[in-house]
């Protein structure tokens, strides 16, 4: 339709004309999601590694729990943190509801099970002897962990990108915890929801384009790494 063409053109124009409001929204998105992923990656990797290499009672149960958490909808995570952070909640005194910190908490919680489950799968695929060899060659535990991570890098990168892709495109938890406040907690997905509800489609499309470009870049990056990493014959 003629109308949708003009909306898309207007969207592209908005994007490249440096519309400050639009770029502020994009900035909030990246700032919040990057902080969230930086917080959740280290503990998630360690847990994934322990689940793959250590042997202890309840290990299988833990794996099942993390796999189940993958299926928890973002709004449920959002609601849980909302209840914790609300005035009446246990953490109400922190007064964090409707701040970027609340969004970071929600997104970190969302990305955590993805990083653990996919990280675990990646570590599991690596021969256990990599760890043992490194250890016999005199590497300390940290050094040996680093070696295994290097072996598992393709799987781990895939875990990282999936987790990042999930949280940067997620609307439910961000809306509930951040409150969609302009120039503060309004990120790309909540802005798209808002613009659609206002009937302003071009801003929504422009922001959608940013997400698509991001997804494409991340995937190309991943392909590049994996392309070099295929089995040699």
């Amino acid at each position: 339709m003629d109308d949708s063409t003009s909306i898309t053109l207007e969207a592209i124009h908005l994007l490249f004309s440096g519309d400050t409001e639009l770029w502020a929204i994009i900035g909030v998105s990246f700032q919040v999601s990057t902080t969230a992923i930086l917080i959740s990656v280290p503990p998630a990797l360690i847990i994934a590694f322990i689940l793959a290499y250590a042997d202890f009672p309840g290990r299988r149960l833990l794996i099942s729990i993390f796999n189940t958490l993958l299926a928890v909808p973002a709004v449920v995570i959002g609601l849980t943190f909302y209840l914790l952070l609300s005035r009446q909640g246990i953490l109400g005194d922190w007064r964090l509801l409707f701040t970027q910190s609340a969004m970071v908490m929600g997104q970190a919680a969302l990305s955590f099970p993805i990083l653990v489950a996919m990280g675990h799968a990646a570590f599991q695929a690596i021969d256990k002897r990599a760890w043992e060899t490194a250890r016999t060659l005199g590497a300390n535990r940290i050094r040996a962990f680093y070696t295994v991570m290097k072996e598992a890098r393709f799987g781990l990168l895939a875990a990282l990108f999936s987790a990042y892709g999930r949280i940067i495109a997620e609307v439910g938890a961000s809306m509930m915890l951040g409150g969609n406040i302009l120039n503060y907690t309004r990120n790309i997905p909540t802005a798209i929801a808002l613009e659609t509800s206002k009937g302003e489609f071009s801003q929504g499309i422009a922001l959608g384009l940013v997400l698509i470009i991001l997804a494409f870049t991340l995937n190309t990056f991943l392909q590049y790494f994996q392309g070099k990493g295929h089995l040699s014959n």
């Binding site: 409707f98 302009l182 503060y184 808002l194 659609t196 509800s197 206002k198 009937g199």
Partner: protein, 293 residues
């Protein structure tokens, strides 16, 4: 195997009939799609329960079915413009007039009036008086740099709020003025969490009153009146508009029977809407007073 084959055969034979069915129906007198009216309206009329109370009577007497699409006024007008709705029940006079003047809708008919109230925390840091002028009350909020939550979603309530500020000053750029772009219920929740002021329609307020620590701090200024109009989408722009249905709904909702029903509608024992179909003068006067907003 034979059974599977014969089943497939039966399906293939019956398929054309199934596909053609709507075509037959279209030729007939009882065209199903013409019995459905798509009403785009604001969340305030739907959330308050007014439409659920009002429309069954219309559906029984007329034989039409009304599909309610409850969105902000901005989105409702957009739906009308795009031909995604047949008739609109909205409350943003200036935007409505623009909509009609641009030829997207036919004519505005007044339906009812309710009002907005300014609510805020019990502590009332900006010291607002219940009976002062609304613009003065808002100025006090700005002067005290108290937190104000704005709908920020182009809804009727948002447009009303913007029209009430006397001056747009630094306060609107400060962190205390927060545009959140969400529905009225959500905004009331946020205001309660953040000890903030906000402007709300009385209907949503009555529904939320019991579960919020906020209270009404200013009301009654004529500028806070909130007129609702019903508009049929222009049938000349889109051929698939259910124009007869839209007209039927309009003539019913402005009839004496429906107007009496509207006047009797209560939420928690409070009357909510004042019927206004017969008071064209009142509404047009209001529009003038509030600078077309």
């Amino acid at each position: 195997m034979k059974l599977v084959k014969s089943t497939i055969k039966t399906i293939l034979i019956l398929l054309p009939f199934y596909i053609q069915q709507p075509v037959f129906a279209d030729d007939g007198v009882t065209n199903n799609s013409n019995k459905i009216i798509r009403l785009a309206t604001t969340t305030s009329t739907d959330n308050s329960g007014l439409l659920a109370y009002l429309l069954p009577t219309f559906e029984q007497t007329s034989g039409y079915r009304v599909h309610i699409i409850a969105v902000g006024t901005g989105k409702a007008l957009r739906m009308g413009r795009d031909g995604d709705a047949d008739v609109l029940l909205v409350h943003a006079p200036a935007a409505e007039m623009k909509f009609v003047n641009a030829g997207f809708g036919e004519k505005r008919y007044p339906v009812m009036v309710n009002d907005f109230v300014l609510v805020g925390p019990l502590s009332n840091p900006a010291n607002i008086k219940i009976d002062s002028e609304i613009s003065y009350a808002l100025q006090q909020i700005a002067d005290h740099k108290s937190i104000f939550i704005s709908r920020g979603d182009n809804s009727g309530t948002h447009k009303k709020e913007l029209s009430l500020w006397k001056t747009k000053n630094n306060y609107h750029k400060s962190k205390a003025y927060r545009e959140v772009g969400q529905g009225m219920g959500k905004v009331l929740q946020m205001a309660a969490e953040l000890d903030a002021y906000t402007l709300t329609d009385r209907g949503t307020w009555l529904a939320f009153q019991a579960k919020t620590p906020l209270k009404i701090l200013n009301e009654g200024d004529p500028k806070l009146f909130n007129p609702y109009h019903i508009i049929a989408v222009n049938p000349e722009r889109y051929s698939n508009i259910n124009y007869p249905g839209a007209k039927a709904l309009i003539s019913w909702i402005t009839s004496n029977d429906a107007q009496t029903l509207i006047g009797q509608f209560t939420v928690n024992n409070n009357l909510l809407f004042k019927p206004s179909a017969n008071e064209t003068q009142l509404t047009s006067q209001l529009v003038k007073e509030t600078g077309g907003q």
